[in-house]
Amino acid sequence: QQPVQSPQAVILREGEDAVINCSSSKALYSVHWYRQKHGEAPVFLMILLKGGEQKGHEKISASFNEKKQQSSLYLTASQLSYSGTYFCGTAQEANFGNEKLTFGTGTRLTIIP
């Protein structure tokens, strides 16, 4: 069963913050976050593992709450380049490279000047 992402779409002004959530009905081992711009391939942002810490990447960070089976992606002081569709991909087991990812339906983020 695919993870559920919320919100489905969000429009922000440059400099505002956003939170994107990814929830699963099943226990998760890892959550992978990707950003996809229109007509392009998904680009890897970060992985969060069960038992791991919150991760950060410049102004983009994420957390993973194993008990709630939920991950959240935080975008702070958003830039125009952050526009795109964000997908979470989830894996239920530690597959050591052989990740069969189940992707969520995506969150379309639009940043306006």
Binding site: S30, H32, P42, N95, F96, G97, N98, K100, T102, G106
Partner: protein, 117 residues
């Protein structure tokens, strides 16, 4: 920076025809994947491949689909008899694997847009 490449970028075919989509994964990666994305929808897993055999496949990956690593660099997806509903963007991805590391990022190629008429 190493990247996954795919050819062709766009393939138009008639229903019932066979198509082969080609991918060159990143050279030191050991796991290879195919995903598809129907226009406006989410990315869907098709198959993963390791050590010259299929590791996992989804229910989408039926007998009409096959994968092959014909040489040391290419990784192909064949659709034997295409249907209209096979129209989608097909992404190849690869990931490396080192002992003891439980999860890896997957690097996606630019995709092949398949249009079945």
């Amino acid at each position: 920076e190493p990247e996954v490449t795919q050819t062709p970028s766009h393939q138009v075919t008639q229903m019932g025809q066979e198509v082969i989509l080609r991918c060159v994964p990143i050279s030191n990666h050991l796991y290879f994947y195919w995903y598809r994305q129907i226009l406006g929808q989410k990315v869907e897993f098709l198959v993963s491949f390791y050590n010259n055999e299929i590791s996992e496949k989804s229910e989408i990956f039926d007998d009409q689909f096959s994968v092959e690593r014909p040489d040391g660099s290419n990784f192909t997806l064949k659709i034997r008899s295409t249907k209209l509903e096979d129209s989608a963007m097909y992404f190849c991805a690869s990931s490396e694997a080192l002992p003891g590391i439980p999860a890896y990022e997957q690097y996606f190629g630019p995709g092949t847009r398949l249009t079945v008429t």
